[in-house]
């Protein structure tokens, strides 16, 4: 039987190579700022941040699986818990909680109290429509898609917009089984 997934990522976070969070925070900020300059449309910036996150999620999933020793992600509920409790801790050093499950267990919220992406950030009036942390929703979407779960991730609360926490709603659209990729007449 596969080893049970760890309940928290503290041990893993303690064991991985870590770097000064300011460098990470300011680099992300500088990217957002550059995108705002290059793309002008705030909506387009949100889109690009999400796309970047998606590509990152696709890369990061294997490190997450390897280090957390998770050997199966079949149950959405289980998977969401592990991503929040282990994934966020292991990479960002913060813990997220999972709440607001709907009746059929296909939709929940991931809530962040503490978020290293936004240290020092103050949104000027010029970018009100901006979802500054939109890269996070992309990462979650990309990572889940690699474990066969097509999801839709949307922001519910955002401290930079005056809310009391960061809340992402994750909705499971469908689970995609593995197809046999070759046609037999090939």
């Amino acid at each position: 039987m596969a080893p049970a997934a760890p309940r928290s990522g503290d041990a893993i976070f303690a064991s991985v190579e870590r770097v000064n969070a300011e460098l990470f925070t300011l680099t992300y900020g500088a990217i957002v700022r550059q995108l705002l300059t290059d793309l002008e449309e705030v909506e387009e910036v949100n889109k690009q941040l999400d796309q970047m996150g998606y590509n990152i999620g696709i890369r990061l999933i294997d490190e997450f699986l390897a280090k957390s020793n998770v050997s199966r992600c079949v149950d959405f509920k289980e998977t969401a818990e592990v991503i929040a409790k282990v994934g966020f801790k292991m990479f960002l050093g913060v813990t997220a909680s999972v709440t607001n499950w709907d009746a059929d267990g296909t939709c929940c919220s991931i809530v962040l109290e503490d978020n290293p992406l936004v240290d020092f950030v103050e949104l000027p009036d010029t970018c009100q429509g901006l979802y500054y942390c939109n890269i996070l929703s992309g990462v979650i979407r990309g990572a889940l898609e690699m474990v066969s779960m097509k999801t839709e991730v949307t922001w519910i609360r955002d401290v930079l917009r005056g809310d009391d926490a960061y809340e992402l709603q994750v909705k499971l659209l469908k689970q995609v089984p593995e197809e046999y990729p070759y046609k037999d007449d090939e």
């Binding site: 976070f13 991985v16 190579e17 870590r18 770097v19 000064n20 969070a21 300011e22 460098l23 990470f24 300011l26 680099t27 992300y28 900020g29 500088a30 990217i31 700022r33 550059q34 290059d38 690009q48 796309q51 970047m52 590509n55 990152i56 890369r59 990061l60 490190e63 292991m90 990479f91 960002l92 050093g93 290293p116 240290d119």
Partner: protein, 172 residues
């Protein structure tokens, strides 16, 4: 020690940032992509140099500032100092990091078993992408120094990986 995040956060962010600008925004305009990536590094260096000089006296000459970059500044970013500093005493400084963190995982297959012609083209691409990854640290150094009142041009040499030499040319 302040707040930390996993090294993979910054690594994957940089990888994606470079590929976004090189492959999606400016697929066939590398020089434009390079300028954007350098600008992103410039802002970070500019901010961090002000941050890390808060509790120290101001620099009275260029060498002092460069030494600060090699020691305190580099340590904050990479938990190690620049390994070797050379200068021609005419405004050019060479900062060598014998094992530059952001290059340690970069590798391409140079074994001949892949079709030679294809290989050379891939090698060329890889060299190009590799150099794209250097505009960010170059930007950081240029940003940090210009914030300290030292306008300069910064380039990087990776002829012997994973060592990396940053060449700083101060504008008279």
């Amino acid at each position: 020690m302040g707040r930390e995040v996993s090294e993979s956060c910054i690594d994957s962010l940089l990888t994606e940032m470079v590929s976004t600008y090189c492959n999606r925004f400016y697929a066939n305009k590398p020089e434009l992509a390079a300028r954007r990536i350098e600008a992103i590094g410039y802002q970070v260096g500019h901010q961090l140099s002000e941050r890390y000089t808060m509790d120290r006296p101001r620099f009275s000459d260029h060498l002092e500032a460069i030494k600060f970059i090699c020691k305190d500044f580099w340590s904050e970013l990479f938990k190690k100092q620049i390994d070797n500093l050379k200068t021609n005493h005419r405004g050019t400084f060479v900062l060598q990091d014998n094992r530059f963190r952001w290059l340690t995982r970069m590798s391409i297959d140079q074994s001949p078993e892949n079709g030679a012609s294809e290989d050379t083209s891939i090698m060329a691409d890889n060299k190009a992408v590799q150099s794209m990854h250097l505009y960010f640290p170059c930007g950081i150094i240029r940003g940090a120094l210009s914030n300290l009142g030292i306008p300069c041009a910064v380039s990087a040499d990776i002829s012997n990986l994973p060592a990396c030499s940053f060449v700083v040319r101060i504008k008279a």
